[in-house]
């Protein structure tokens, strides 16, 4: 990277608040302050910028390239055009299952954790005793390693002796196959994601505490009831934070893989065959690298579509305060 020749002569503009380091003699030194500044900046950015392109952009492109090859990771790759995609859409029995599992899980986990965390945040925002204590408690599950969480919940969901089926038995209900039935497995796994959403609660709570009381009071004087105040003042004011949490929850939950790795192995009857897990399976247990890359490319498009929808619709419901917005 030749930085020096790229930096134009902008000293006049940028040099305004140079801390007087240029003792302006007749010869302008080569390393002017703004050049030094730029060089420092590039040096600061090099590791991350190189790294981000090395671990994000280039691999993403490579995944698309790889998807056009047939390769087992050992022999030399063979170019086969779009055959991987053809196979995926026509022959592959897992494709629709994985699409369904990913979307249903993401939908349940995102909606569930958003509603739960907003609800808890609203409760915590009320005038209740020992608020920091409760806030810390709700945050605890977020601090647990995913694998610990899934072993814990596997035991809670256990068919005969798990906590939930003990409770069912006490209530006189038949035991429920939480993880063993294809119908229940995704809601059961999504509930785990909801339980872990402590970070969302804390962020929502911070947002709620930032809603200026003035608007609430004004609306109250105008006769708005608490539901109206919540819907017409709190929610619009919170919309940037809701958007942020929604985006993060969506991206994370679409990429779900750990529950399948740790508990279900994609079962029962492929009901939890998440697309990420399928990518892992094809690449690292069946050594169909090119084929797995084709899945990865489709997965990229899938995540892209959802993110794009979220951004495109955001202008209809996202409100930023006019002044003082950062």
């Amino acid at each position: 990277m030749d930085i020096r020749k790229q930096v134009p002569d902008i000293k006049g503009v940028l040099g305004m608040n140079n801390g007087g380091q240029i003792k302006s003699g007749r010869h302008k030194p080569f390393l002017t302050n703004s050049r030094k500044e730029a060089i420092t900046a590039y040096l600061c950015l090099i590791p991350a910028f190189l790294g981000l392109s090395m671990i994000s952009y280039i691999p993403t492109l490579s995944a698309f390239v790889l998807s056009l090859f047939k390769w087992n990771g050992m022999t030399s790759p063979e170019f086969i055009g779009f055959d991987n995609y053809k196979e995926m859409f026509t022959i592959d029995i897992y494709f629709t299952d994985s699409l369904k599992a990913t979307l249903v899980y993401a939908f349940l986990a995102v909606i569930g954790s958003m509603i739960y965390s907003l609800f808890i945040a609203i409760l915590l925002n009320m005038n209740i005793p020992a608020r920091p204590l409760w806030r810390s408690i709700f945050f605890v599950p977020y601090m647990l390693p995913a694998i610990g969480v899934y072993t814990t919940w596997r035991w809670l969901y256990e068919l005969n002796y798990g906590l939930f089926n003990h409770i069912n038995r006490m209530l006189g209900l038949p035991p429920v196959k939480y993880l063993e039935s294809p119908k229940n497995v995704l809601p059961s796994l999504a509930l785990i994601a909801v339980w872990c959403a402590g970070n969302l609660i804390v962020i929502f709570l911070a947002g709620l505490q930032n809603v200026p009381g003035v608007y609430q009071e004004a609306a109250e004087i105008d006769g708005a009831n608490s539901w109206q105040r919540f819907w017409y003042i709190t929610i619009p004011y919170m919309s940037p934070i809701i958007f942020y949490n929604l985006l993060m929850a969506l991206i994370i939950n679409l990429q779900v893989v750990t529950p399948a790795l740790a508990i279900t192995n994609g079962g029962p009857q492929n009901a939890s065959m998440f697309m990420s897990y399928l990518i892992y399976r094809y690449a690292f247990t069946k050594y169909k690298i090119g084929y797995a890359a084709a899945y990865a490319a489709i997965f990229f498009v899938l995540v892209g579509i959802f993110t794009a929808i979220l951004f495109a619709t955001s202008k209809y419901w996202l409100f930023y305060e006019e002044e003082g917005g950062k």
Partner: protein, 296 residues
Amino acid sequence: MEGSVNNTYTIKSSFFKSKQRREKIVNGIAFVFVVIFAAAVLLPLWWIIRSSLMSNGVLYSYPPSFIPYEWMVSNYSKTLETFKYWTYFKNTFTIIIPAVTFGTITAIFCGYAFARLRFKGKKLIFTLCVGTILLPGMVTLIPLYIFWTKIVGLGGTYWPLILPFLTGGGFFNIYLIRQFMTTVPKEIDESAEIDGASRMCILWSILVPNIKPAITVVILMLFIQLWNDLLQQLIYINDMNKITFAIALTNFTGSFGTKWNLAMAATCMVIAPGIIIYLIGQKSFVEGIVLTGIKT
């Protein structure tokens, strides 16, 4: 402001009294809900602790007891016979400590460049960096695996798990640091510069101490990211002596499928470091996250 409140108060004192009462009731109901939900959140944790201290016979009896009447601490020593806790502990933190350190330092440098320095192409680089948030890690998994194992030849070492953190562990962390740094008044930098401080000196001795909450959150986020990972570790680690908590626990609970008390003892031990770190840094973690919620 106060005057107007007093004014309304005298006019509508009865209205306010009933309002106060209603508020009290609403807050009371909210408190009850909070307690119930908090209990529900903690119940799974209590359940695994209590399960880890029971014999299998008691564990499988009905009705279930909420508190073990015989505390079988021996479950833990029995677990440790096959579950090499301290090896896994060492392995896990051999990855976590350098990764978190690298990640935090690079995030600080980048955040500083974006917040304070002027250079050509800043907007473009910034946009490119933001874009990486939207690139799913699952897509890059296979090409990266090929890169680390076939091209660089680091297969079987921890480096493929550590080196990616030289990027600040994702753009979110860089962004966070940038946001916090922009709130530190620029005049502080400028006066230090006049006093002859170098840029690095300003960064490390003025800016960094001023954005401690953000740095705490970045450290926490990096820690959690590594702490939660199973997939990457599964792919890159294939030596049984090098496995981490995540892999070890998956193997252990898989092989001891029916001995739930031992499986739960192992689970408790695995989640313990995270809980301990949380208890120590609880206040600054939560407050840091609160601040990030406001500033992003």
